[in-house]
Subunit: 360 residues, 2 copies
């Protein structure tokens, strides 16, 4: 395969190592590992998780349908259940053990008349301020759990949160913040169990927290996703180092602006997404090696700006010999999940096996 | 068709009116109208341009292949010619009148041995500072034109530019800046014609300039793209008003945070792209009307933040009755080109005819 257009590459060896490290960590602590498949989005990489996890997480009904059709039979849709998708959800529930999340009684009520019981998690806001009920509204949460317990078609599993605020922190702060969120969840779980006299599980755990925090034993289930590839954003947080980043975009260089140490590449917003990082801009370059992979970060060399198809690279003069038309620039993405979603296909190094995603 | 998931809608009546207005304007001035198809990306909307343009523009060989297969036979690929795609380009040139752009002699040289002559435009940097040769390097430009004129396989057409800096300006400044760019191009054209004693055409014209500047008579060809749908970014520039925006995303509301006047929608970065605008955030809401379309802007109501699938809307309290679970929120995109690229399919109002794109 000759690369002639922007092509997303993912290093199989690094992926497998990332999976083994995290699945091993949680297995050792006897915690259910339910990785989020919204990052890789593909049956090919999904298969690398076989026998290494106890169920999977997805972010939409559409993604659940894709993985259900590929023999994943225990799926959590970690996005607020949408009554408009009720018939699709009902169909899915016939073939897989389906777990849904909800945060208000009216939505739950919309699902009262399903034929098959569904597993429900109450979505709580563990500091991310996106979706869910704030933990201080304990009475509201308990009331919703009670509604599930009283129903024949709803099975109450526990509380589910995503401390996504860790994405804006660094190393030590991530550990502190994740511990704070765990304490909040733990305290809420106790209250629910005391009042309702029922088992209440806790599901949480994002990539920064799962990478950096050692002890997860208070938690029943973790759902990190990004760690499978990692990216520059995670490297900035301290969740990973360069050697653990499994994803790079190979982009043809189409013009070199020599006097400025800049190059124009085929690689823009429709390939990388417009995720911007103050330190890494729209991406940092890696030095390609002889085997078509990448072995080191290119210092002071960034994807400085992007439009729909064009990217402008600013490179350190010491790398000037690597930049000429018809060569490839290797750019590490800021956010691998969105880059995968933009491309919908990628090739696994070293053999370039093709992986397509659920939206392909 | 019942909308249950994020669904991109485009109003056929507004699209046709946008096309008629601009094609009429340039027809009246006898200027070649070569619209950029990177915005709508679809054969369905492409067909609305039949007999209203004299060729089309695309931003990649892949997009050219898609439209060539759909009976578009005069195509300019307004992206620097990439020698790695030479065989694909050669194949394309057998079925269509293909126009390419180039800015360095080495790249042009790579195409010397093609069987069929190609039409070449020299890409000049008219102030956008992205790709192309700076106009002050006149000798370099003339030398490249000379290389074309001497060759049997290269046909020299003229100079091509994109004054994309207008995207960062507003109304009056757009007109001034576009006029300045036209003068630069015009002066360069004269020098080339004087020195080489050959005809040199000028191709330029972005959506802000083509919408706002009245007199284009010095220019041979214009290539606006975004005007087919427009979007909030263009409204911010002053290129269009609300009634000319043809595109909206219908997003299921999945949670209402009443005390905060916020709502969680299914609609995030994989649907809208992460294009952010200081005034419009990730999108502004429109008030849905009874016919499933939208009739007015919702004041002070924005898509405030997005992650992969989630969007958080902040709405003016006077619209509170429009926000409840299972209803749809109508969000105008900041940048229609990237939103179309994220979705790869959209539905035309009022009959909901489906349009899929070249990347679908």
């Amino acid at each position: 395969m000759k690369i002639t257009r922007p092509t997303l590459l993912a290093d199989r060896r690094i992926i497998l190592s990332n999976i083994d490290r995290l699945s091993g960590k949680f297995q050792a602590q006897k915690i259910r590992f339910r990785p989020h498949f919204k990052t890789h989005q593909s049956e090919v990489v999904g298969d690398f998780f076989r026998n290494k996890c106890q169920g999977i997480t997805v972010s939409s009904v559409e993604m659940a349908e894709y993985f259900a059709a590929r023999n994943w039979d225990d799926i959590t849709i970690a996005f607020p259940a949408n009554p408009l998708e009720k018939s699709a959800i009902e169909k899915l529930s016939e073939s897989v053990n389906l777990n849904l999340i909800v945060s208000d009684p009216a939505t739950l009520h919309e699902f009262d008349d399903l034929n098959k019981p569904l597993n429900w998690w109450i979505k709580v806001d563990l500091g991310n301020h996106r979706a869910g009920i704030k933990p201080e509204k304990t009475e509201e949460i308990i009331q919703l759990a009670r509604q599930m317990l009283k129903s024949k078609t709803h099975s109450f599993k526990g509380i589910l949160g995503h401390a996504g605020q860790t994405y804006h922190l660094q190393s030590e702060q991530v550990v502190q913040e994740e511990n704070r969120a765990i304490q909040v969840a733990e305290s809420l779980r106790k209250k629910i169990q005391d009042v309702l006299d029922t088992r209440c599980e806790v599901s949480m755990g994002d990539t920064p927290g799962c990478s950096l925090l050692k002890d997860w034993q208070k938690i029943d289930e973790v759902r990190p996703g990004n760690f499978v590839f990692y990216d520059l954003m995670q490297m900035g947080i301290g969740s990973c180092d360069f050697s653990q980043i499994a994803m790079v975009m190979a982009c043809p260089i189409v013009q070199v602006r020599k006097d400025e140490n800049k190059a124009v590449i085929h690689g823009g917003a429709i390939h990388f997404s417009k995720e911007y990082h103050p330190e890494f801009k729209y991406g940092q370059l890696a030095v390609p090696n002889d085997s078509g992979a990448y072995s080191e970060l290119m210092e002071n060399s960034f994807l400085e700006s992007i439009s729909q198809e064009h990217g402008i690279i600013s490179f350190d003069p010491k790398y000037a010999s690597l930049f000429s038309t018809s060569k490839l620039a290797y750019v590490l993405p800021v956010h691998s999940c969105l880059t995968v979603d933009c491309m919908r296909e990628y090739y696994l190094l070293p053999d370039l096996e093709r992986a397509t995603t659920y939206r392909y």
